[in-house]
Structures are given as structure tokens and as C-alpha cells.
């Protein structure tokens, strides 16, 4: 019945649908308890009326917001795709900034501290992450090859390793390495402990990614290479891995970004990276939220850098798919 109506009057049905969605958005905003204060800010003359008619004011606020969103949507549809993407980013970024602005942050305090945050915190975070990423990649490659091995001992080693380091919380791994290794006579610094924990943990996750990537390559590729006389190692590094990279790179990019942020856990053993500074620098003037938001934004910027890197690498390994 409804289906027939939609098929017979598609244009009308679409309009009714759009109105319905508009109504849903407005109702949703209202039920979430949207305030009407922003109307008062834009039209000061309405302040008194809004005070007297609280419910009605909120309803109008919800409907107005829904209309603004709808209008914005319509407007964006007029743009070509590239500009749509940029516009959405700009709009959402502005909203995010508005959100932070509502915290009443002290910008001078941020300006005073951000230099040290970057010269000490970002440098430390980046160097811990970069070394850990490099080691984790090597571990992952070795782990993946070991997991595909016919040798039971090697397979056993690899599965125990991935099981243990995927199974323990990263925070515990950092504590165990930093506090536990001295028990067996090997005193380890905070930074090396952090790097070791991060590489071992992410190496274990990435082992699975690499294994899946290698297994995704058709057996015929190995046979083709073998028949040409290539050794198993040559087959892996010249034929299988370059193709597997296409499958491996996107989830590995995820892991890199996750690791960048998980490096904040290293702050628990007193390494002066971004998170540690964010918690300590704000203490002196009770401006915690300034530092935490600054740190968050720094993490975001660094992640965007990694996303960019990932897309470049993906393009490199995917170039043979171009027609």
C-alpha cells in the first residue's frame, strides 16, 4: 500500500519523507533538551519573551535548528563533490571550536605552554611512536611468516607470542616490563620500557594483519614464482609481500594511529610525552582542561599526518590496479 503510493507519486513521497525527517530531527533536538539561549543572543529583543514561554521557546529553537541543518544540506548539494568535502570539514571544525570555546579557555595560558608541549612532548611522543612502529613492523613480518610455518616449534612460538601480547592490557605490559624486568636483574629505563611494550603489543596485533595479507594472495602467485626458480624468500619479498601490502596498509595505518595515541600510556612510568605534560603543566594554575584539549588537538594533528602518509603509501602499492 505504502510502497504503491511511493512508486506512483515519487516526488510527493520524497517531499513528505523529507518533511518527516525534518520533524524527527526537530523532535529529537527538543527531547534532548535543547536550550533557546542562542536565539536570545542573536535577537536580544526576544530574551524576555523566551523567559516567559520556556517550552514554546525550546520548540521554536529545535525547529529553527532543524531548518538550518536542512537548509545547509540543500546548499551543500549545489557544490561539486570536492568542495562538499571541504565545506563539511570546515563546518564541523567550526562547530568543534565553538564547543571548545564554550569551555571559556584561557588562550594566553595555552600560548604560554604550547611551545614546551611541542618541543618536549610532541618530540618524545613522535620518537617513541616512530621507533615502536618500526620495530612492530619487523616483529609483525617475522610473526606472520612464523605463523604460516609448517614447523611446529616456530608456529608454537608465534601463536604464544600473539596470544599473550594481544591478551594483556597494554598498561599492564608497560608496568610488567618496567617494574618486572628489574626483578630478573635487568634494569630498564622508562623510555625503552615504553618502546618495548608498544612494539611487542602492536607487533602482535599487526602479525595477524600481515598474516591475513599474505594469505590473501592467490596460491598461483607462489607457484608461478617457484616454477621460475625463485627461492621461498625471494618469492615472499619480490612477489607476495608487494601484493599483500595493498591489503596490509589500511589496517596497519589504523594500528599506527592507535599506537600514536596509546603511546600516552607510557606517561604512567613518567615519560615526558604529550599526555604526561598535559596532566602536569596545567596543575600549577589549575588549568587542566586547557592542556588536555591542547594535547588532544596535537594528537589529532599528528594522526592526520599519519592518515596522509597512509593514503600516499596505499596509492604507491595500488598503482598497478590503474587502468
Amino acid at each position: 500500500m505504502l510502497g504503491r503510493l511511493i512508486l506512483t507519486y515519487p516526488a510527493t513521497a520524497r517531499r513528505i519523507g523529507a518533511l518527516f525527517v525534518l520533524f524527527l530531527v526537530a523532535a529529537g533536538l527538543y527531547s534532548l533538551g535543547i536550550s533557546s539561549a542562542w536565539i536570545g543572543k542573536i535577537f536580544p529583543s526576544a530574551v524576555d519573551w523566551l523567559k516567559e514561554n520556556k517550552q514554546l521557546g525550546r520548540a521554536i529553537s529545535a525547529i529553527a535548528l532543524a531548518l538550518i541543518v536542512a537548509f545547509n544540506w540543500k546548499l551543500l548539494q549545489l557544490l561539486p563533490r570536492r568542495q562538499q568535502i571541504v565545506a563539511v570539514w570546515l563546518e564541523l571544525f567550526a562547530l568543534l571550536m565553538l564547543f571548545f570555546y564554550s569551555f571559556d579557555l584561557s588562550l594566553p595560558f595555552i600560548a604560554k605552554k604550547i611551545g614546551f608541549m611541542i618541543s618536549q612532548g610532541v618530540v618524545t611522543t613522535l620518537y617513541i611512536s616512530a621507533i615502536s612502529i618500526a620495530i612492530a613492523t619487523v616483529i609483525a613480518l617475522a610473526g606472520a611468516i612464523a605463523k604460516l610455518s609448517k614447523n611446529g616449534v616456530i608456529y608454537g612460538l608465534a601463536t604464544f607470542y600473539t596470544s599473550l601480547f594481544r591478551g594483556l592490557p597494554l598498561l599492564m605490559q608497560i608496568y610488567i616490563i618496567y617494574l618486572g624486568l628489574p626483578q630478573v636483574g635487568y634494569v630498564i629505563g622508562a623510555v625503552p620500557a615504553g618502546i618495548l611494550a608498544l612494539s611487542l603489543c602492536y607487533g602482535a596485533y599487526m602479525t595477524e594483519i600481515f598474516r591475513a595479507g599474505i594469505e590473501s594472495i592467490h596460491r598461483g602467485q607462489t607457484e608461478g614464482a617457484t616454477a621460475l626458480g625463485l627461492s621461498p624468500n625471494q618469492t615472499m619479498f619480490l612477489v607476495i609481500l608487494p601484493q599483500a601490502m595493498r591489503v596490509i596498509v589500511p589496517p596497519t595505518g589504523n594500528q599506527f594511529i592507535a599506537m600514536l595515541k596509546d603511546s600516552s600510556l607510557v606517561s604512567v612510568v613518567g615519560v615526558w610525552e604529550i599526555m604526561y605534560l598535559a596532566r602536569t603543566q596545567g596543575q600549577t594554575e589549575f588549568r587542566h582542561i586547557e592542556m588536555l584539549i591542547t594535547a588532544s588537538m596535537i594528537y589529532w594533528v599528528l594522526s592526520i599526518g599519519l592518515e596522509f602518509l597512509q593514503s600516499r603509501i596505499e596509492a604507491h602499492f595500488g598503482r598497478f590496479n590503474a587502468r
Binding site: 598461483g220 607457484e223 608461478g224 617457484t226 616454477a227 621460475l228 626458480g229 625471494q234
Partner: protein, 248 residues
């Protein structure tokens, strides 16, 4: 000189099992230098397994396989040596999609024969010229048609300068109008005196170039004869049935 000295390939009493399944059952086969053999038979008869044992993509479990005077055993060195001298062409081409056509051809000569890149490229272009595909040398395999890809696969194998070529159903995955270009390449290869073993159902090709046709069924060699004899006067009931099926 005794006949056996001329044998490029010699299989005696070869057996292979996949679990319980008896894939090769007492295979005895001698292939002389420059001989062209066509192997045919119903699917699952063991013909692919047979030629894959010759370059040890599959390991046999009993019997003896000698290729170019070298016995295939667990010995890795022997296996490597045999693989260097035996080229193989697959049903699904197995070109490396991440490398260009010429890079596909250069890979093994450079890494296995330790040839200089310039020299290897020169040889690659020579063979690509021969299979009439040199103008596509810098494209990727995915940009070529099936027939073109298979011709590249033949050129790639020839770049290693093999003494023996194995063909595992080289035309089975091709569109009908591309079969001829690949068969023509194979015929010209045969005319130059390459030792060839082809698993194929292209009976025209078998008639034209084969010295012997081998018919397999259930892991055994059922019949072995010159092509004219095999096609016109098959001896075994099973061969007759098979031929009546594929020749309509």
C-alpha cells in the same frame, strides 16, 4: 649411445597420494630431447599432477623422476637446478600483477640467473617480440587480454632459457577467440625443437605438433600412441568414450 641417454625426462614407477586418494598410480614415462607430448584425459585423471611433479610443484611419494639427468628428491639444490631448466605455463597465467610485463620477464633472470638488468631486459624484449607483444611491455598484466597475458607468460618462461617447457591447460581459461593466438605461439615453439609436455584438450594442436599423445584416467596412463593412431583408432574403451565426449 643407449636410448636412455637421450631422455630429457624419465619417470619410473611414480606414485602420489593425496591422503587416501591415489592421484598418480605407477606412472612410467620417458620423454626424449625435442619430443612433444600431449597429455589428455578427463578432469581429475592426474594429468596436471603429473606435470607438476616434473618441476616438483608437487612432491611424488614413490618411484623416481629424473629431469635433465638430475633426480628429484628432497635435495633442495637438485630441485632448484631442475626448476631453472624447466619452464612452466599455467592455466591462469600466474603473471605477477604488481609488475609490468617486462618486469615480469626480467624478475627470474635477474634474481635466479644473476643476470645484469640491461642484459635481462634485452632478452625479455626479444622474447616479447617473438610472442608479438613487445609494444605492451610497460603495461601491467591487468591491462592485457587473457590471450595476451598467456603469451606473456610463455615469454616469461622462455626468458629463463629452459630446456623443457610444461604447459598446464594453457588455453582452458581463455575466451574462444584468444585460443588460436596462444596455440600459434606454442606451435612455433614446437617447430624450433623445444622439448614440450602439454596438458591440453586442443586436439587440433595435438594432431599438428605432438609426437605422442598420452591418455590418462584415474591416475594411470591408459593409452599412449601417435596422435593419428590415437584419434583415429583408439584402443581402449575409456579413450573412445573420452574422445566421443570431446569431439562431439
Amino acid at each position: 649411445m643407449p636410448q636412455s641417454m637421450n631422455d630429457e625426462i624419465k619417470l619410473s614407477g611414480v606414485h602420489k597420494w593425496y591422503g587416501q586418494y591415489h592421484a598418480l598410480d605407477d606412472i612410467n614415462l620417458e620423454v626424449a630431447k625435442k619430443e612433444r607430448i600431449v597429455i589428455c584425459g578427463p578432469s581429475g585423471s592426474g594429468k596436471s599432477t603429473l606435470i607438476r611433479c616434473i618441476n616438483r610443484l608437487e612432491a611424488h611419494q614413490q618411484g623416481q623422476i629424473i629431469v635433465g639427468g638430475i633426480e628429484l628428491t628432497e635435495n633442495e639444490k637438485n630441485i632448484e637446478e631442475v626448476r631453472r631448466e624447466v619452464g612452466m605455463v599455467f592455466q591462469h597465467f600466474n603473471l605477477f600483477p604488481h609488475l609490468t610485463i617486462v618486469e615480469n620477464c626480467v624478475l627470474a633472470p635477474v634474481w635466479v640467473r644473476k643476470m645484469g638488468k640491461a642484459k635481462a631486459t634485452e632478452i625479455a624484449m626479444h622474447f616479447l617480440e617473438r610472442v608479438r607483444i613487445a609494444d605492451q611491455a610497460n603495461k601491467y598484466p591487468g591491462q592485457l587480454s587473457g590471450g595476451q597475458q598467456q603469451r606473456v607468460a610463455i615469454a616469461r618462461a622462455l626468458c629463463m632459457n629452459p630446456k623443457i617447457m610444461l604447459f598446464d591447460e594453457p588455453t582452458s581459461a581463455l575466451d574462444p577467440e584468444m585460443v588460436k593466438e596462444v596455440l600459434d605461439t606454442m606451435v612455433s615453439l614446437a617447430e624450433e625443437g623445444m622439448t614440450m609436455i602439454c596438458v591440453t584438450h586442443e586436439m587440433g594442436f595435438a594432431r599438428q605438433v605432438a609426437d605422442r599423445v598420452i591418455f590418462m584416467d584415474q591416475g594411470r596412463v591408459v593409452e599412449e600412441a601417435a596422435p593419428a593412431e590415437f584419434f583415429d583408432n583408439p584402443q581402449h574403451e575409456r579413450s573412445r568414450l573420452f574422445l566421443s565426449q570431446i569431439l562431439h
